[in-house]
């Protein structure tokens, strides 16, 4: 079994069989992570570059760990957004990296579409670790893995993504992937945070958070990205919290069986109260562990293709 594409650019249009294969492979690696020696020689001799143009300690560490567990050689290239503001050097940077004969590039960048651009200027396998507001496929895959671990399936589950959906690549990847796997996907948040035309993708829009809690099996709660000028789309964080914040009272009143996911890092007291963030409904730390297994699966499947 192998994937149908040699890159992971996003989950839009990725066939069900591919997602299934990644999630099944991740299960195997999840077991590896429970062993005393958490390392396999699968990608020995492969060179992977982590090309991070945006700060993201969590995602980078997760990828790095996955690469080390697979015995790959890794090189990190991180640069802040400001130093390459105009981006003239992106192509040159990639050409330099390419000259070092790398096998795979994991890329995060503030401009949507960068992974596509990379496939045109590099021969390596490209993995998208988050591009602008486009996609963050490995995050969605680990969310899907975590949900599947709890429910045994994704098909027919009611899953709602809550928050600034319009400005979340995590949300979009989740929507594409979950729809492909047969889940009923809805979104909930203030109208200014709902993406234009989302219904055309077969996604229901819910404006009331209590309704969303009542009618779903899973809530995937997004971080309110204050740094991405969420301020212009909501009058205040306080108002957001009052109308869309997830509190224990809301969960207890509406649905005691709900499962809460959060891609992290959490703004405590904004999208989730501390009580919920540390409470019985959430699996936030499982998501982190599963993230390593899912990334190992993606790296393994792409890295052993050619």
């Amino acid at each position: 079994m192998s994937l149908s594409s040699r890159h992971l650019l996003g989950l839009y249009g990725v066939p069900k069989e591919d997602i299934q294969l990644i999630l099944d492979t991740a299960t195997t690696f999840r077991e590896v992570l429970e062993r005393p020696i958490k390392k396999v020689p699968t990608l020995q001799g492969k060179t992977i570059v982590n090309l991070f143009y945006e700060n993201s300690t969590r995602t980078r560490i997760s990828f790095e760990l996955a690469q080390k567990r697979l015995s790959a050689d890794t090189v990190n290239f991180s640069t802040s957004t400001s130093s390459t503001k105009k981006g003239e050097s992106f192509k040159d940077t990639v050409r330099n990296i390419e000259a070092m004969k790398v096998d795979m590039i994991v890329v995060r960048h503030q401009s949507a579409g960068i992974p596509y651009f990379l496939t045109r200027i590099s021969k390596a396998n490209i993995i998208n670790a988050g591009d602008g507001l486009h996609e963050h496929p490995t995050q969605a895959l680990l969310d899907m893995y975590s949900i599947r671990e709890k429910f045994g399936t994704l098909k027919g589950l009611n899953i709602c993504i809550v928050g600034d959906v319009a400005h979340s690549r995590v949300a979009m990847s989740n929507i594409f992937g979950l729809k492909t796997m047969g889940a009923n996907v809805s979104v909930c948040g203030p109208s200014t945070m709902i993406p234009v035309g989302i219904e055309e993708l077969g996604v229901k829009v819910c404006k009331n958070i209590d309704e969303a809690i009542k009618s779903n099996d899973v809530l995937n709660v997004l971080r309110i990205q204050l740094e991405r000028d969420a301020g212009s789309r909501i009058p205040s964080v306080r108002e957001y919290h009052n109308f869309y914040g997830i509190t224990s009272e809301r969960l207890e009143k509406n649905n005691k069986n709900i499962l809460i996911l959060h891609p992290g890092p959490i703004n405590r007291g904004v999208e989730l109260t501390s009580e919920v963030a540390d409470g019985p409904y959430q699996i936030i730390l499982d998501q982190v562990t599963n993230g390593v297994a899912v990334r190992m699966a993606v790296l393994y499947l792409l890295g052993t293709m050619n």
Binding site: G87, K91, A112, G113, I114, L133, H134, I198
Partner: protein
């Protein structure tokens, strides 16, 4: 020197002419229209143009030449060569150069540079000083030096107050204010807002950003009696607004680019920056509305918005890449392939939109096929099938989304200012 254009169909709706007649041109002047003698044929160089149309020289009223300032991307000369190759004998160039075309000196510089070339370049000068939108430019002086219209293209004239001034002032010499319609507060995006921007995660640019300025400008044209020309119209609503305005005899005209009547935002799926322009590619519904607008006369002309950019600048992160594509060398082919051959508009309308109307808007004379007139004409083979190949373009830049596209219809010769461009060469005639 005497030349004869033989067996072409002379097509000029401005003189209600649609007839197969031979033309005798001597030293750049039309000496005979039909009724040529055997002696004429013996003493002239004869070009056989059977099956082709001979029309008044094509005119593109929206071209960005990068001179002065960015001669690495385009010069007046290379842009003029591209125009000739595309079938144009005259073009108007936009003022967003470095420095801007906002002084008589620069207007004269451009006129001077284009003097020796087959293609005549008419400068559009800045509507406001340095295109900053604060105060109107010295329009009298600019007009006197040879500017034919005023625009802050690249951006909209910032405020209604300055627009009002510009329209009232330019009315004195009947020159149009050419508007790039985009509400600044809504225009930080990189592609049309809609389902595709949601899927692609690119910052959206809503169509209402254009519509708001179009209606502002229409109302201001009505109020002042000034003349507004809407550049590169791209939305369905904007077409409706212009149609509404024309019904009320408001002095407004509009142009559409070939990319806005042939492509949609679906094309952005691979994040190829050759599909990034402003206004952005819109939806199929908008494309249909533009074609309808061209058909019923709501949209007066076709213009390229030829915008050369270097490969280094274009081949970068989508959100940072500059807007715009080159268009002079594909414009006629796209119009013929997508509009005429698909039976959306007629060949007469092509001549109106690519030759007659731009000149009317800019108060320039339309060339006539009459004895004693200067020969300013384009010979079009409507059925020539060719493949776009940017590597052969005369333009210094290669940023076209139409590379490798198969087109039907092409200019095969242009004549102006005693020069002829034929088979890739300029010939003195």
């Amino acid at each position: 020197m005497k030349i004869i254009l033989k067996d072409a169909t002379l097509l000029n709706p401005a003189q209600k002419l649609h007839e197969k007649k031979d033309l005798l041109i001597e030293d750049g002047i039309i000496r005979k229209v039909g009724e040529l003698t055997d002696e004429d044929y013996e003493k002239s160089t004869v070009y056989d143009f059977a099956g082709k149309y001979c029309v008044p020289g094509l005119f593109d009223m929206h071209v960005h030449l990068r001179e002065p300032g960015r001669e690495d991307e385009e010069t007046i000369e290379t842009g003029s060569n591209a125009a000739a190759a595309g079938g144009f004998t005259e073009i108007a160039c936009m003022p967003n150069t470095t420095p801007d075309i906002d002084s008589a000196e620069i207007v004269r510089y451009i006129k001077e540079k284009s003097k020796e070339h087959l293609v005549e370049v008419y400068p559009i000068a800045a509507a406001t000083k340095k295109r900053q939108g604060e105060a109107i430019s010295p329009m009298f002086e600019l007009y006197g030096a040879g500017a034919v219209g005023f625009s802050d293209d690249g951006v909209t004239i910032k405020t209604a107050a300055v627009l009002k001034n510009a329209l009232e002032y330019s009315k004195m010499f009947d020159a149009p204010i050419i508007e790039h319609c985009e509400d600044e507060s809504l225009s930080s995006g990189a592609m049309n807002e809609g389902i595709n921007s949601t899927i692609l995660g690119l910052p959206p640019l809503p169509s209402v950003s254009e519509d708001i300025i179009v209606i502002r400008d229409i109302l201001m044209a009505e109020y002042t009696g000034g003349k507004v020309h809407i550049a590169h119209i791209s939305t369905k609503r904007a077409v409706e607004l212009v149609r509404w305005a024309k019904k009320r005899n408001i002095n407004v005209t509009a142009e559409a680019t070939p990319h806005h009547f042939t492509l949609t935002d679906e094309s952005l799926k691979t994040y190829d920056t050759n599909f990034k322009m402003n206004p952005p590619l819109r939806t199929a519904e908008d494309v249909e509305a533009i074609i309808e607008g061209l058909k019923d006369g709501t949209i007066d002309c076709i213009a390229s918005d030829h915008a050369p950019h270097s490969i280094e600048e274009k081949e970068m992160e989508f959100i940072y890449a500059p807007n715009g594509i080159i268009g002079l060398e594909t414009e006629l082919g796209l119009a013929l392939s997508e509009l005429v051959h698909k039976k959306r508009i007629t060949m007469e309308q092509i001549v109106e939109k690519l030759s007659i109307n731009p000149r009317k808007i800019l108060n320039l004379p339309v060339p006539q096929f009459k004895v004693g007139e200067k020969a300013n004409l384009t010979v079009i083979d409507p059925d020539l099938i060719w493949t776009v190949d940017v590597s052969t373009f005369k333009s210094k830049s290669k940023n076209s989304p139409f590379d490798k596209k198969l087109l039907t219809g092409k200019a095969v010769a242009v004549i102006n200012k005693r020069k002829m461009y034929y088979e890739d060469k300029f010939i003195d005639i």
